[in-house]
C-alpha cells in the first residue's frame, strides 16, 4: 500500500507545482511530464477497479483529460497526487457502474498461473473479484468513494483522509460501513472463500 514516505520532497513539490502551473496554461510538454510521473498510478487504479487493461487504459486517458481540463482551476492547497487519486477513483467507479456485468473471461486480467493451478480455481477467483468490484460500485457514494481509494488506489487511512479532506475518524467510520455492506452483499461468496482458504 502507498504510505506516507511516498510524500514528495520540498524540491519535488516545487518542480511539480511548476509543471502544474505550466500545464494549466496549456503547456503540453509540462503536462507530459506530469503524465510520466503519474500514468503508472492511474492505470494501476483503473486495472484494479476494472480488471481489463484496454478498458483501464481508456479510463486512464479520460482521467488525464479531465485533469488537463480542470488544471486551470486547481489550487495548490492539497497535494496533486491526492487530488489525482480522487479524480481517478471517481472515474473508475463511474466506469464500473456504467459497465454491464459480463460473464466472459476474455480480455480480463488474471494473475500469472502458477504451476499446477486449477483453471476452475482461477475462474472462481476471477468471478469473486468481479463480484467485489461491482459490489463496491453499488455502494452509497460516500462509502464507495472511500473504499475505492483503499481497494483500487491502495491508500492508507491517513492518505484517504487527505484525499477526501475529511477527518481520520470519518474515514474509519466510512470504511467500517462500506465493508459491512460489502460483506452483506457478497455474503456467501466471502464465506465460501473463507472455507476454501481455511
Amino acid at each position: 500500500m502507498a504510505r506516507a514516505e511516498d510524500a514528495p520532497s520540498i524540491e519535488g513539490d516545487a518542480e511539480e507545482r511548476r509543471l502544474i502551473d505550466r500545464s494549466a496554461s496549456g503547456d503540453q510538454e509540462a503536462f507530459r511530464q506530469l503524465v510520466i510521473r503519474y500514468h503508472r498510478l492511474v492505470i494501476n487504479v483503473a486495472v484494479r477497479a476494472l480488471g481489463e487493461l484496454s478498458l483501464a487504459e481508456d479510463v486512464a486517458q479520460d482521467v488525464f483529460i479531465k485533469v488537463y481540463k480542470a488544471l486551470p482551476g486547481y489550487r495548490h492547497d492539497k497535494p496533486f497526487k491526492h487530488w489525482l487519486h480522487r479524480v481517478a477513483a471517481n472515474a473508475v467507479t463511474d466506469a464500473l457502474r456504467r459497465r454491464r456485468p459480463v460473464v466472459s473471461l476474455d480480455g480480463m486480467l488474471q494473475p500469472p498461473p502458477s504451476a499446477g493451478s486449477d483453471p476452475q480455481d482461477v475462474a472462481t477467483r476471477h468471478d469473486l473479484q468481479r463480484a467485489v468490484r461491482h459490489a463496491i460500485a453499488s455502494l452509497p457514494p460516500h462509502y464507495r468513494d472511500t473504499i475505492a481509494l483503499q481497494a483500487f488506489g491502495e491508500l492508507s487511512y491517513d492518505e484517504i483522509a487527505k484525499a477526501l479532506d475529511i477527518p481520520l475518524g470519518t474515514v474509519m467510520s466510512r470504511l467500517n460501513g462500506a465493508k459491512r455492506l460489502l460483506r452483506e452483499r457478497l455474503g456467501d461468496l466471502v464465506r465460501s472463500e473463507e472455507a476454501n482458504t481455511a
Partner: protein, 279 residues
C-alpha cells in the same frame, strides 16, 4: 472485558491495524473467548484479502499511451468534445483522415521532410504521432529508429542554421525516442541490425556536434545534450553498466516514485514555444 457489540464494531479497524495497542489488547481478550466474533473477524480478513489481491496492471509502455492522449488533448481542450470513448475514437479517426489527406498531397506540402522551423512541421508531428500509435509492435523499433535519425537530421540542420533552441528540442526528442526504444535495442531480434543502427546514430550525433562547433558558437547546451545522448547509446550497448531502468513501465509499484528527477525529461519533439524565426 469488551462487550460483544462493541467488539463487532471495532473488528474492521482492528483487522486494518488501525487500533492502538491497548485497544487491540482489549479486542484480543474478547476474541479469545468468543467464537462468533472470531468467525466474523475471519470474514473481515477474507474480504480484506479479496480487496488487496485485485490484480495490478502489467507493464505498459508510456509512449503509445501518451501519443494516444496527446492526439486528443488539443481537440478536447479547444472543441470541448465530451469524454466518451466513441468520441475520442472519432477524434483519432479525424486525425488519421487529416494525415491521409495530407499524405495524398504530400509531394506538394513536403511535410515529412519539414524541419522544426517550417510552418508545416506541426503536420509532420501529427503524422508521426498517429503512425507510431498504429504501428504494429514488430515494426515499432524500425519506425522508432527512423524517427531517431530524423530528429538528428533536424538537430544538425538547426545547429548548422544558427538555431540552437530548435536543435536542442530535436536532441531532447531524440533522447525520448531512444529511451523508449532502449529495451528493444538491448534485446533485438537481429543484433546486427541493431548494432548498425546504433552506429548510424553515433555518426549522426557526431555530425550534430561538428556542425554546432563549426558555427563558431559551440552552444554549450547543445554540446551537453549531444554528450547525454551519446551516453544513452553507451548504456544501451553496455547493459551491465545500466543503473536506472531506461524504459517507462507501469505496474511495478502502486504509486510512482515521487522523487523528482534532477533534470527534466526531454520533450518528444520541438515544442511550438521553441520555434525560432527562419530568417
Amino acid at each position: 472485558m469488551l462487550s460483544h457489540a462493541t467488539t463487532r464494531d471495532w473488528l474492521i479497524p482492528y483487522a486494518d491495524g488501525m487500533l492502538a495497542s491497548d485497544e487491540r489488547r482489549r479486542i484480543d481478550g474478547h476474541l479469545a473467548g468468543c467464537a462468533a466474533c472470531a468467525a466474523e473477524l475471519r470474514q473481515v480478513r477474507e474480504l480484506n484479502l479479496l480487496l488487496v489481491t485485485l490484480p495490478a496492471a502489467p507493464p505498459v509502455a508510456f509512449a503509445p499511451f501518451w501519443l494516444k492522449l496527446q492526439a486528443v488533448l488539443p481537440l478536447r481542450r479547444s472543441l470541448r468534445i465530451p469524454t466518451l470513448r466513441s468520441y475520442r475514437r472519432l477524434g483519432l479517426a479525424l486525425a488519421m483522415a487529416t494525415v491521409a489527406a495530407l499524405a495524398a498531397a504530400g509531394s506538394a506540402l513536403a511535410a515529412p521532410a519539414a524541419l522544426p522551423d517550417n510552418p508545416l512541421y506541426p503536420i509532420k508531428q501529427l503524422e508521426e504521432s498517429v503512425r507510431i500509435a498504429f504501428t504494429p509492435a514488430h515494426d515499432r523499433l524500425t519506425y522508432q529508429l527512423q524517427l531517431a535519425n530524423e530528429r538528428l537530421r533536424e538537430a544538425q540542420a538547426m545547429a548548422d542554421d544558427h538555431k540552437p533552441l530548435l536543435a536542442k528540442s530535436s536532441l531532447r526528442a531524440f533522447r525520448v525516442i531512444v529511451d523508449d526504444a532502449a529495451a528493444a535495442l538491448k534485446n533485438p531480434a537481429d543484433p546486427k541490425v541493431a548494432k548498425d543502427a546504433l552506429r548510424t546514430l553515433r555518426v549522426q550525433l557526431a555530425a550534430v556536434e561538428r556542425d554546432n562547433a563549426n558555427r563558431g558558437e559551440d552552444d554549450r547546451d547543445v554540446k551537453q545534450l549531444v554528450a547525454d545522448a551519446s551516453r544513452e547509446l553507451d548504456r544501451i550497448e553496455q547493459p551491465e553498466t545500466v543503473g536506472v531502468p531506461s524504459t517507462i513501465v507501469v505496474g511495478e509499484q502502486a504509486t510512482p516514485d515521487p522523487t523528482p528527477r534532477s533534470t527534466p525529461r526531454p520533450t518528444p519533439r520541438p515544442a511550438p514555444s521553441d520555434r525560432e524565426h527562419s530568417d
